[in-house]
């Protein structure tokens, strides 16, 4: 298993997440896809740490853990927003949330 394997895996995860974010209409699914994007980034942190010049410093896990914690908080905020949006518009379909456009 070399660094490249991990990077390819990470790129695939990134692609999946990005595709989800860009194409799906359900806000919750978009939120899931964002999580996948985070994980792709975390995988890169770990991989670069593991194959880097200084594996004893634990830089990578520290970054990854930090990102996971932040992502957890972000999900809490995000889901709260989703609930607020749902209460307001009675839908979670992004296609219907078009009040930003010119009528």
């Amino acid at each position: 298993m070399t660094l490249n394997h991990y990077l390819v895996l990470s790129a695939i995860l990134l692609g999946i997440g990005l595709l989800g974010v860009l194409t799906r209409r359900n806000i919750i699914v978009v939120l899931f896809s964002i999580e996948i994007l985070f994980n792709a980034a975390n995988l890169n942190f770990i991989a670069f740490w593991r194959f880097g010049p200084n594996p004893e410093a634990l830089m990578g896990p520290m970054f990854a853990l930090f990102a996971i914690a932040v992502a957890a908080a972000e999900v809490a905020v995000g889901l709260a927003l989703v609930i607020a949006v749902y209460r307001h518009f009675k839908t979670v379909d992004l296609e219907k949330l078009d009040t930003l456009r010119e009528p």
Partner: protein, 634 residues
């Protein structure tokens, strides 16, 4: 007597004029005006007593303006001449003011009338007391204005409005002469003060103009033009008879007793200049011709006031003779003083008569007044006797003084004056017969006027009879007349013309049927010797010619202006349509706006409101940015 006390004499009536300007209540305005003038009269009497015993004095009031080395000050002169004039003006004025309260009682603009009268009194008093030609000129113009306003007081009558205009314009010609005289005097001597302790205009030689003509000659000639305009000397007399369109008290005060005498006063005041300039014979002859012409015209008139007006012109002419023939100004002024009283009396009497005859002024429609209005008649006859110069009335003494002076100076002029005196007696008798004798020929029965009108008449009658004998001699002595020997031919002539004229008139008119045509009212006399027609044909025609020319010029200028305007409009329209409309509006302003609007429309399509759509652009941008960085680094 201090300067400010003396200044109060003209200032009190001025204040009264200001106070009454806004009043509506005629009685209150009359009270204010009469009160102010009465105080002025008392002050004037005090001033007269001072001047009588003391020396002539000059009172500087205030600096008016000083430019460079030239100072123009307001100053007053108190001497026998000015004090006598001031007391005469205030006294006669007071009586006429009182008379006016009766005469104007029913006029709705009575308050305005007293305002104008007060303004006039202020101007006249300023005129006589002034020691400065400029101040005199200003007062001169004020009395001219007041005269205009009062002649046209009943401006709803077109004849009155026209008479006011005529008076204003004709006297303006004279005023122009006066103003020019002032300018010449000022450029020659650098001062307009009459007396200034040896440096005044009358106290030093004004020098010589070009070609050896003395400045005094030119200045005195120009001043005489002003005096002739104001005092109705031929040929500028035409305004004075027309001025009788004003209310009768105005005719009495302004156009008989005081203002028209201002010209005579001016000549007397600046007498040294006339003497130095050698213009006195001209003054005398102008006066003589005026006296004759006016006395002739008076014979042909039927309006009671118009006869008196021509008589005034004639007497003013005699005053000028008195000034021009004598070596001092005293004789002319003497006649001025006596004339002021008896002519004011005659005018007020005429006012009382026409008031009693329901505003009838045509003597052919009067008659029998003597029985109906005894007081007025008695007073009027006193005035008439004085005017005729019946022996030992006031007019006799003053006219006699004039005749004595002219007998010594200029024999032909003496005969001229004697003849006009004869005519005077004739027309006065004619008028009196027409008015007082026989039966009344008018439609309404005449009635006597109220006491407020008759009492001033009686007072004036006393003065008209007695003034000459009472203090005529003292007057002359004070004004500096030299009482020359009294030649017998003069006395004989005086008696003969007065008594002969009256006798002639009595013979012609007493037994006549007065409804028949008048034998002496010849057509040329009725038409006033065609003076008005002459002016209409000369000055009037010249004026209408000039007016037509001016109208033509004005039309040409108007056409030119229209052309320029058309041109400007065309240019403006071109620029407005092509440059402003097309270039600026459509292309620049609207065009830019439209471009921005279209740009906005295009840009708005990106704002779909679909959030992942925005994100797609972000991702695309990021990828492109990454590729760009990658390309930069490799």
């Amino acid at each position: 007597m201090s300067a400010s006390t003396l200044a109060l004499i003209p200032c009190l009536p001025l204040l009264a004029a200001l106070c009454t300007a806004g009043m509506r209540n005629g009685r209150r305005a009359a009270a204010v005006a009469i009160g102010a003038l009465a105080m002025s009269a008392l002050l004037a009497l005090w001033a007269l007593s001072q001047a009588w015993t003391g020396d002539a004095q000059v009172f500087p009031l205030a600096d008016w303006l000083s430019v460079g080395g030239t100072r123009i000050t307001f100053s007053l002169r108190l001497d026998a001449l000015s004090a006598l004039m001031a007391s005469m003006v205030t006294f006669v004025g007071l009586l006429i003011f009182i008379f006016s309260t009766g005469y104007m009682a029913h006029d709705p603009r009575c308050a305005r009338f007293f305002c104008y009268l007060s303004l006039f009194a202020a101007g006249m008093l300023g005129l006589v007391l002034s020691n400065n030609l400029l101040l005199l000129f200003m007062s001169w113009e004020i009395v001219g204005l007041a005269s205009y306003l009062l002649i046209g007081f009943w401006f709803h009558k077109p004849s009155a409005a026209a008479a006011g205009k005529k008076a204003f314009i004709v006297t303006r010609l004279g005023d122009l002469g006066l103003l020019l005289g002032l300018l010449v005097a000022f450029t020659q001597t650098g001062t307009l003060e009459l007396y200034a302790g040896g440096a005044g205009l009358l106290e030093k030689d004004p020098g010589t103009l070009v070609w050896g003509v003395g400045a005094a000659k030119l200045v005195s000639l120009l001043l005489f033009v002003g005096a002739a305009g104001k005092s109705g000397q031929v040929p500028l007399h035409v305004w004075l008879p027309d001025a009788m369109e004003g209310p009768t008290p105005v005719s009495a005060l302004i156009h008989a007793a005081t203002m028209v005498a201002a010209g005579v006063f001016l000549v007397a005041r600046t007498f040294p200049l006339f003497e130095a300039g050698g213009t006195l014979p001209l003054v005398a002859w102008t006066g003589g011709v005026t006296a004759l012409i006016a006395a002739l015209i008076a014979l042909g008139q039927f309006d009671i006031k118009r006869i008196l007006a021509y008589s005034t012109v004639s007497q003013l002419g005699l005053m000028m003779v008195g000034l021009g023939a004598a070596t001092t100004g005293a004789i002319g002024m003497y006649h001025l003083f006596t004339h002021a009283y008896f002519k004011a009396l005659l005018f007020l009497g005429a006012g009382s008569i026409s008031h009693g005859c329901h505003h009838e002024q045509d003597i052919r429609k009067m008659g029998g007044i003597a029985r109906a209005m005894p007081v007025t008649t008695a007073a009027y006859l006193c005035g008439a006797l004085a005017l005729v110069a019946f022996p030992y009335t006031s007019g006799y003494f003053s006219k006699d003084a004039v005749l004595v002076a002219v007998y010594g100076a200029d024999r032909p002029l003496f005969y001229l004056c004697a003849f006009s005196s004869l005519l005077t007696a004739l027309y006065v008798t004619r008028q009196c017969v027409y008015v007082f004798a026989g039966a009344h020929r008018g439609a309404h029965a005449p009635h006597e006027s109220p006491a407020v009108m008759t009492v001033p008449l009686v007072i004036l009658a006393v003065f008209a009879l007695g003034m000459g004998g009472l203090f005529g001699g003292a007057l002359q002595a004070k004004l500096g007349a030299i009482h020359a020997a009294h030649p017998f031919p003069v006395i004989a002539t005086s008696w003969a013309v007065a008594l002969g004229g009256m006798l002639l008139g009595w013979v012609i008119y007493s037994g006549r049927d007065l409804r028949a045509p008048d034998p002496l009212a010849l057509v040329p006399l009725q038409r006033k010797l065609w003076f008005d027609e002459l002016y209409a044909a000369t000055a009037g025609r010249l004026w209408s010619g000039l007016t037509a020319l001016a109208v033509l010029l004005q039309e040409m200028v108007a056409a030119l202006a229209e052309l320029v305007q058309e041109l400007a409009q065309a240019t403006g329209q071109f620029f407005s349509r092509s440059v402003d409309g097309r270039l600026i509006d459509q292309l620049a302003v609207d065009g830019l706006a439209r471009r921005f609007h279209e740009g906005g429309r295009a840009a708005v399509r990106f704002q779909s409101g679909f959030l992942p759509g925005y994100l797609r652009w972000v991702v695309l941008g990021t990828l492109l940015g990454g590729l760009f960085v990658h390309w930069l680094l490799t």
